[in-house]
């Protein structure tokens, strides 16, 4: 099986996000980037499928700070080839990134044809598009999003895929391959790779660096940012203070006052 995984970095929200002085972008001074969570799951799913069916996993990522660590970790986890698409340095919008991926996949040798293209279902900064459906559209491949399970049939012609709805309901789909899937969660949580293995990968393997294509104006972000700000805290809970027993009796008092107990 030939599986491609598309990865992007997003701002790490564990750090306090600050707005740049122009009020339209994030301040990058203390900004740290982290692999988009569902992209991590997409990589894990790809590795699981490779372990099950054999084949190759190729990872492509748009360049961003700290992306090299992520790519070496992917190699240490079992990816066969990792490709970094330079340019933009983390500032590409979702739409731009999708066009960059689609263009690169078609132009760069040795990537297509693939049986499966996996990427995360959605990233926290996908303001102007979604990668999975857009790449599917540009490559004229079927797309399904919010995927939590992939079972590849004989000959890698069809995959039986589970998609998550609400209320715990899932839909079973037959997807003809090749296809693009937006992964919500891998079958198992992303595996741990020890620091020593990542360091070994750094010494023994390399990242293929490719220049990003020049995007036509029509393929750039079509949105204009008017303003970016931190949300006003519109409401806040009334805080109850004290030891657990005191707080509990206060709470019970409130509940019975309102006739709720």
């Amino acid at each position: 099986m030939n599986i491609l995984v598309l990865l992007r970095m997003v701002p790490d929200v564990v750090e306090e996000l600050e707005i740049a002085p122009d009020g339209k972008r994030l301040d990058t001074e203390f900004l740290r980037m982290i692999l988009s969570e569902s992209d991590d799951h997409a990589l894990e799913e790809a590795l699981i499928l490779k372990e099950r069916h054999g084949g190759k996993v190729t990872v492509l990522a748009t360049a961003a700070p700290d992306i090299d660590d992520v790519l070496f970790a992917a190699l240490a986890k079992g990816a066969d080839r990792v490709v970094k698409i330079a340019g933009g340095d983390g500032g590409l919008s979702a739409r731009e990134a999708a066009h960059v991926f689609a263009f690169t996949l078609q132009k760069e040798a040795g990537l297509l044809p693939a049986d499966l293209i996996l990427t995360g279902v959605q990233a926290i900064d996908d303001l102007d598009s979604l990668i999975a459906p857009l790449v599917g559209h540009l490559l004229r491949l079927p797309y399904l999003g919010i995927v939590t399970q992939v079972a590849v049939g004989e000959g890698a012609k069809v995959a039986t895929v589970l998609k998550e709805y609400s209320g715990g309901v899932r839909g079973e789909f037959e997807v003809s391959l090749p296809a693009v899937l937006g992964i919500q969660a891998a079958e198992k949580p992303p595996r741990y790779v020890p620091v020593a293995k990542v360091r070994a990968a750094m010494k023994s393997s390399k990242i293929d660096a490719i220049a990003a294509p020049d995007l036509a104006a029509a393929n750039r972000s079509l949105l204009e940012v008017i303003e970016m700000k931190k949300p006003e805290v519109t409401g806040h809970a009334e805080m109850l203070e004290g030891a657990p027993e005191a707080v509990s009796s206060k709470l019970v008092g409130i509940l019975s006052e309102r006739g709720l107990l």
Binding site: V10, V13, L17, I19, L26, R95, I124, D126, L127, D128, S129, L130, A132, P133, L134, H137, L138, L141, P142, Y143, L144, G145, K163, Y165, S166, G167, G168, V169, G171, E172, F173, E174, V175, S176, A185, L222, L223, E224, V225, I226, M228, K229, K230, P231, V233, T234, G235, A237, E238, M239, L240, P244, E245, V247, S248, L251, V252, I254, S256, L260
Partner: protein, 324 residues
């Protein structure tokens, strides 16, 4: 001549989703401000009767096609594109839900239109639409505008109260035909229901919701005790269900259930948007978390900064002694 405001009415398994009414409420407001019509688009197969609930819109375009019986993003986008091409609306509000995710992106790209995701509000400024979007898991608000005549809006939950989008009068319905391929690369074969749970948490008045702060499966028993003392049920946020400590039917949130109990105790839950989506309309929300900065405290009515495992036993005792 500026186009109308459209709402893609999301229907799934025979029901129109709540977020559709939220979108209609918002669309109506914006359409009125712009002086244009609000129109709804209903896609499906043999679901014309659902159009009757969409009275908030001035009219409904009903597209019936066997291939639209189940929501497949490629097909819905195809159908929508044909309508958009013909009638050129100014904005199309498409719910950002599991059912409709991807439709907006695909439809927009087919016509080279801009898309705005994570939208939580629309405003009209100088006759142009501005979208207010909530990004980075709720941490940043971005206001954007898009050039061109048509914009596709991916609408998040909670933009307007759903009740404002409900109407008693049925709207006029126009049947529209579209051409769709006979075969598609994506085909729904069946729905997989979660294992039947003993309890329907959407019917309970009191819910004791547990999150990561419960720390271990063993501690669930204490939460069960508290729930029992309050005649309620235990439910959980996604991490607890992913760990297998509670079944799928107890999950509250975007991929779980939406609940509106009288009391919702959020214990050890941080308040990620995907969870809040499922419980924000509860009448009384009390949150307990060790992190005073946890987002849940912006949603809750009352908050306690403490270790969940300290509060649960104390609260159980207090409830029991109050009840006598």
């Amino acid at each position: 001549m500026p186009g109308n405001i459209w709402v893609l009415a999301e229907q799934w398994r025979g029901k129109v989703s709540e977020i559709t009414y939220e979108a209609l409420a918002l669309g109506r407001e914006v359409a009125d401000q712009l002086g244009v019509r609000l129109e709804a688009v209903l896609l499906g197969h043999k679901v014309k009767d659902l159009a009757g609930t969409l009275g908030c819109a001035a009219s409904v375009f009903y597209v019936d096609h066997p291939m639209l019986a189940e929501p497949i993003a490629d097909l819905q986008a195809d159908a929508l594109t044909q309508l958009v091409k013909a009638r050129k609306p100014q904005a199309i509000l498409i719910p950002l839900t599991n059912v409709s995710l991807g439709v907006g992106t695909l439809q927009a790209e087919q016509l080279g239109l801009p898309v705005v995701n994570f939208c939580k509000d629309l405003r009209v400024v100088d006759g142009k639409l501005q979208a207010e979007c909530i990004m980075y898991g709720g941490k940043i608000e971005t206001t954007v505008t898009a050039p061109g005549e048509t914009v596709v809006i991916g609408l998040g939950p909670g933009a307007r109260p759903a009740d404002k989008g409900r109407a008693t009068q049925a709207p006029p319905v126009e049947d529209v035909t579209v051409t769709l391929p006979e075969k598609t690369g994506v085909r729904l074969t069946r729905y997989v229901e979660p294992e039947a749970g003993d309890v329907d948490i959407t019917q309970k008045d009191v819910l004791v919701a547990v999150g990561r702060g419960i720390q271990s499966q063993d501690n669930l028993a204490l939460a069960e005790e508290l729930a029992a003392a309050m005649d309620g049920a235990v439910c959980g946020s996604r991490p607890v269900i992913d760990q297998g400590w509670l079944g799928l039917t107890r999950q509250v949130g975007k991929s779980g259930l939406t609940v509106k109990p009288k009391i919702y105790l959020a214990l050890g839950i941080s308040g990620a948007p995907e969870h809040v989506e499922g419980m924000k309309d509860a009448s009384l929300i009390v949150a307990v978390n060790t992190d005073s900065q946890a987002p849940i405290f912006s949603v809750a009515h009352f908050g306690i900064v403490a270790d969940v495992m300290d509060v649960i036993p104390a609260l159980t005792d207090a409830v029991k002694s109050k009840k006598g």
